[in-house]
Amino acid sequence: MPILEVRGVSKRFGGLVAVNNVDLDIKEGEILGLIGPNGSGKTTLFNCITGFYRPESGSIRFHGEDLLRLKPHEICMKGVARTFQLVKPFSRITALDNVTIGALCRTNSLEEAKLEAMKILNFLGLSKKMNLPARDLTIADQKSLELARALATKPRLLLLDEVAAGLNPKETDEVIALLRKIQESGVTLFVVEHVMKAIMTLADRIIVLHHGSKIAEGAPSEIATNKEVIEAYLGREYRA
């Protein structure tokens, strides 16, 4: 059984169909990539899965359980965590407190949550900066913090919205290594990414969205040579 099962999900904003009848399955333990040109509905799909938007039709099941009626915090408690494309740190408090808040969803003890948060910050290489206010971190560190906070909720499925965007090549390599480590620890990953190097090396499978519809699905090598995908990204005249 797939860990996440999306069937016929559509989301409209007025006349615009942002996500159009999308089906997808995520298998336990894999890294599934989601790509598509700007405005193709990737983030909207994420928002539908995590309860921030309510789709007009379709079904979303996590371990066979319907997520569609649940609120974002309930979905998090079920074990689905996410990061945001535009980082949303709790800017006035320290990095450690940010991650502690994530860990508090699994415990009522502040001590335990802080220990857990320190472990995760250490894992992500942020422990030296844990006492800085989140707003004083670099954008790369804020992205790691976003990831740390999500990990602190102990997810089974982690949805990552462009964690590598805006990072330099060295930082990108670090993020790739990090995501591999997270996968090895038993977390299933669903990753939106524009940085092709990252997605092509990481993902076991890739799904391509265009104008809200799924136009391709397959291994990275298949996607890279798929005519429709190249057309969607570059336009018809560049078709090889």
């Binding site: 974002p72 915090h73 949303k88 740190p89 969803c105 909720t153």
Partner: protein, 354 residues
């Protein structure tokens, strides 16, 4: 064992502790040294500190600018006064009834506002609207007492008891009121401290800084905002009953006015929102200035309000985070320059040397 005891003593003799000890003794002895007007000003300082401290829970820590807190204050003032007049129930019990009713209002209003996603200016407008509606209701609400009507626009006089009575919450002098207000304030500071260092406090802060991120981390933002509102209401209520017993007269224009909410916000903002001592410092600075200016220049001139306005502008430009920062710096400076008292004598020094 011995070593532990010495450790404790040397801790107690550190500048921080005897600074606090001096502060505590001064606070307790103040009413003996001051004239009644000065004690009166301090009582007002404590009332406003309590009000700003309770507003701080919903407005400072949780970031929801509530203007409904005046209603919590007024409801508690009315609840204890009316229970006393109509049924002879002690104002102390009335205080808890008032707190209970305020909490109910907070839960109801909070659910209505937050369920439908009212944030920022819209929550602020809705909370003003509810306050005004409650004020209007009380202006037109009368209670029969011995064939007479009390309440409504005339307000309610709390019957005066002869002599001092703790049961009736009435005293001839100002000192008992001073100590009661101080006790309520200290209790609320302790509660705020406990909240700040708990899951609840962390969740309130998360909601203040980013609600979407908070939701994504498993925080039921609707529930926790209502909880913050209810705590804020429960902490506001004792000040309402205290006010009624201190002035022995309440009417909808003084205890149910949105002006009261504005003053809570000003005190908390000037002192430092989202900090434990910020509201206290705000009250210590603002109330004396306002009371003395009012006493010397007369309430009608409006000069006290002009001066308050100037102070707010001053703070906003110089200290957007409130006066508390200056106090922290000042405290650290003083604490750093105080000599340490060596209670343990040679043994203690030998221990600290090892």
């Amino acid at each position: 064992m011995r070593v532990k005891l010495y450790e404790k003593i040397s801790k107690l003799s550190s500048p921080k502790y005897y600074f606090l000890l001096i502060l505590a003794i001064t606070t307790i002895l103040l009413p003996l040294a001051l004239n009644p007007f000065q004690v009166h000003v301090l009582v007002l300082v404590y009332i406003y500190a309590i009000l700003a401290e309770s507003w701080n829970i919903i407005g400072g820590y949780s970031g929801q600018g509530s203007f409904l807190n005046a209603a919590f204050f007024g409801i508690a003032a009315y609840a204890s006064s009316l229970l006393f007049i109509l049924y002879g129930i002690s104002p102390w019990i009335g205080m808890f009834v008032g707190a209970f009713l305020s909490v109910l209002l907070a839960i109801g209003a909070g659910y209505l506002c937050f369920r439908f996603g009212l944030k920022g200016h819209f929550f602020f407008l809705a909370s003003i609207g509810i306050t005004v509606a409650i004020q209007r209701a009380f202006i037109n609400w009368y209670w029969p007492v011995n064939g007479d009507l009390i309440g409504g626009a005339y307000g309610v006089w709390v019957p005066v008891i002869k002599g001092d009575s703790l049961y009736h919450f009435q005293f001839r002098g100002k000192a008992p009121y001073y100590y009661i207000a101080l006790a309520i304030l200290l209790a609320e500071l302790y509660i705020t401290y406990k909240i700040q260092n708990s899951k609840l406090g962390y969740y309130f802060t998360a909601i203040r800084d980013d609600e979407d991120a908070a939701e994504s981390l498993g925080i039921d933002t609707l529930k926790y905002k209502i909880v913050a509102f209810a705590i804020s209401a429960a902490l506001t209520a004792p000040a309402g009953t205290f006010y009624a017993q201190y002035f022995l007269f309440i009417d909808p224009f003084t205890v149910l006015t949105d002006m009261l909410s504005i003053e809570m916000v000003i005190v908390a903002v000037i002192g430092g929102m989202g900090t434990i001592f910020g509201p206290v410092i705000g009250a210590m600075i603002l109330r004396p200035i306002m009371e003395y200016v009012r006493a010397f220049l007369g309430a009608r001139s409006g000069l006290d309000l002009i001066i308050t306005g100037l102070i707010i502008i001053f703070i906003a430009t110089l200290r957007p985070r409130g006066f508390i920062k200056w106090f922290e710096d000042g405290y650290n400076y003083i604490a750093g320059h105080l000599p340490t008292i060596h209670v343990g004598g040679e043994k203690e020094r030998a221990h600290s040397g090892s």
